[in-house]
């Protein structure tokens, strides 16, 4: 029943994943200035690591297979720039931090977005509608790297209510996650409002009213499920956006997360870190989109049979 849907989605993703990994392999191998190129502008210590890891004397095919094997073990290879660190080590330290930031931001986005949108839908064309929607335009148009510094300026430097950098105390987490979540809260609030209003116009809401349900019961039991579907679909792209936005947010707030390392590695041309992290991100996004699809199918019973 639902399993054909699941299988179909998987069938698309597996070959893509395959393609991506192959691409990554070749890109590492052919990185300009890397050990495989003629320039060899890598330090000797690193060159030693790489040779040991990749068995460069072996034919290309076995190197490729070896890469896959390493991947399954979760080993992403040594860093190009830091002689005694592997990509894995870097990721292990930084990933949990980024995950926490990402989840917090997503939580803010959903909580604020759904509440604001829900309120606006409940009382359309009143102040409860216009004000949140005006804010949402701000959130959609203003980039994270503008919102972040402004929040820091106002709440960190002028009012001195919250700290401006670091990731130690719980207060540290407030501004960064709000900054990152704000744009998505804005979008989600619009989606929620639109979705609920559209559902409200549907005939089955009239049926519910004719049966004697209160407006609150109608909202919770009948409107939410259908009305929130656009929000659920949006969670996939939202997550991708949050991952991207984290790059800037971690930089602004000096958070030792994976995003900041990624940027540093990009600037420093640490190819293995860049490619390894990208691979991780892509996988994460694929998996999350997949999960979102499943959640959507659960919520909308009509989808299962497609």
């Amino acid at each position: 029943m639902g399993s054909t849907y699941v299988l179909k989605r998987l069938a698309i993703m597996v070959p893509i994943f395959f393609l991506v990994v192959t691409l990554v392999f070749f890109m590492i191998r052919f990185a300009p200035g890397g050990p495989f190129s003629s320039e060899k502008s890598v330090s000797p210590a690193i060159l030693k690591n790489l040779e040991a890891k990749y068995h460069m004397d072996e034919p290309l095919l076995s190197q490729y297979v070896r890469y896959w094997k390493d991947l399954f073990r979760g080993d992403l290879g040594p860093s190009f720039k830091h002689a005694n660190r592997s990509v894995n080590e870097i990721i292990e330290e930084a990933l949990p931090i980024s995950l926490e930031l990402g989840l917090l931001s997503l939580t803010w986005a959903v909580l604020i977005g759904v509440s604001a949108g829900g309120l606006a839908a409940l009382k359309p064309n009143t102040v409860y509608d216009y004000v949140p929607m005006a804010f949402s335009i701000l959130g959609i148009c203003l980039p994270t790297f503008v919102v972040g510094p402004v929040l820091v300026l106002v709440f960190g430097l002028w009012l001195q209510w919250l700290p401006v950098a670091g990731w130690e105390t719980w207060q540290d987490r407030v501004l960064p996650s709000l900054t990152l979540g704000f744009a998505y809260a804005a979008y989600i609030s619009r989606l929620t409002r639109g979705g609920l209003i559209e559902i409200r116009g549907q005939e089955f809401i009239r049926t519910a009213r004719a049966k004697g349900l209160t407006e609150k019961e109608i909202l919770i039991k009948h409107s939410l499920r259908g009305g929130l579907l656009p929000v659920v679909s949006y969670l996939g792209p939202a997550l991708a956006g949050i991952i991207t936005g984290a790059l800037v947010t971690e930089t602004i707030f000096n958070i030792p997360g994976l995003g900041r390392f990624f940027i540093e590695s990009a600037v420093n041309r640490d190819y293995t870190v860049v490619m390894g992290t990208s691979l991780l991100y892509f996988t994460l996004i694929f998996v999350c989109n997949f999960l979102v699809d499943i959640v959507y199918a659960v919520l909308d019973p009509r989808v299962k049979y497609v």
């Binding site: 890109m27 402004v150 300026l153 430097l157 991207t244 990208s278």
Partner: protein, 282 residues
């Protein structure tokens, strides 16, 4: 022929206050930035180390930055870069999108299906990563930046154009034209393209702010426009670094970037509503 469609749309657009506001701002901005170089007479490079972090004054309208450079000039020059990159990259993306979408829609059938499948898959990937990877591998040259940025936005354009082509292919006037013996080439040039032009313009207007935003994002992170050139993204980064000392260095470029984004979005939304008579607004 299609004249009434445009005049109708223009009329509707004129009624949309937000769109008009956006358009006026943009026109003003373009005039100041590109046509009045004398305003930037202080130059974006000239340093005055005696006068670093000066607040706005009659000489330096926006104040100065950490090296005593006139911020007003820097904002103008930065604007030129941001806007130019934005426009050019959008044109690249529009070109790719239009070609891909028209091909897909025109060819139809299985080819169309697979082409759109590819688009669906690519949609989920955050392109910024690809752009960054490209930058890392191939260095930061200007042309590459255009191309890379352009490649991040073509998907939506492709979808829109394909949709248009598909719906137009089956419309009666195409069949009528066919029955009159017009060649394929004429049909495409004289009928398909003018009718597709509308949505293309709308989405082009909406693509530009996205590209400007991405370029600013990259420049902020140090991966986009390189010194000595500076786009708004670079300026904002510089502003953030010293915002406790000189908040105006953050404020002015941020304001211009945001205002430009707003204006483009309002204009684009307005165009979209104006060209779609059925327009379902929320």
């Amino acid at each position: 022929m299609s004249n009434s469609l445009w005049t109708d749309a223009l009329h509707r657009l004129k009624k949309n206050k937000l769109a008009l506001l956006g358009a006026s701002f943009l026109i003003l901005e373009l005039m100041i930035f590109f046509l009045i170089p004398v305003l930037a007479r202080l130059g974006y490079e000239a340093q005055d180390l005696e006068l670093t972090f000066a607040a706005p004054s009659p000489v330096h309208w926006f104040g100065t930055d950490s090296l005593g450079r006139d911020l007003f000039s820097r904002v103008i020059f930065g604007g030129r870069i941001s806007l130019t990159v934005g426009l050019l990259a959008s044109l690249v993306s529009a070109l790719v999108g239009v070609v891909y979408g028209s091909l897909s829609g025109f060819l139809g059938g299985k080819i169309d299906n697979s082409m759109m499948r590819i688009v669906d898959v690519l949609y989920a990937l955050p392109f910024i990563f690809l752009v960054i990877i490209l930058m890392v591998y191939f260095g930061r040259n200007f042309i590459l930046l255009f191309v890379a940025l352009g490649l991040t936005q073509w998907l939506t354009m492709a979808r829109i154009v394909r949709g248009q082509v598909l719906s137009l292919r089956h419309k009666e006037f195409i069949e009528a034209a066919n029955s009159l013996g017009l060649r394929q080439r004429d049909i495409v040039l004289k009928h398909l393209i003018p009718n597709t032009l509308g949505p293309v313009i709308v989405y082009l207007t909406l693509t530009v702010p996205s590209v400007i935003l991405e370029e600013a994002f990259l420049s902020y992170l140090g991966l986009g426009i390189q010194a000595p050139l500076a786009s708004w993204g670079t300026l904002i980064k510089e502003g953030v670094d010293v915002m406790d000392l000189a908040p105006w260095t953050l404020f002015f470029p941020a304001f211009f970037l945001s205002a430009t984004l707003f204006s483009l979005n309002f204009l684009g939304d307005g165009l979209r509503d104006a060209l779609d008579p059925k327009g379902a607004r929320d």
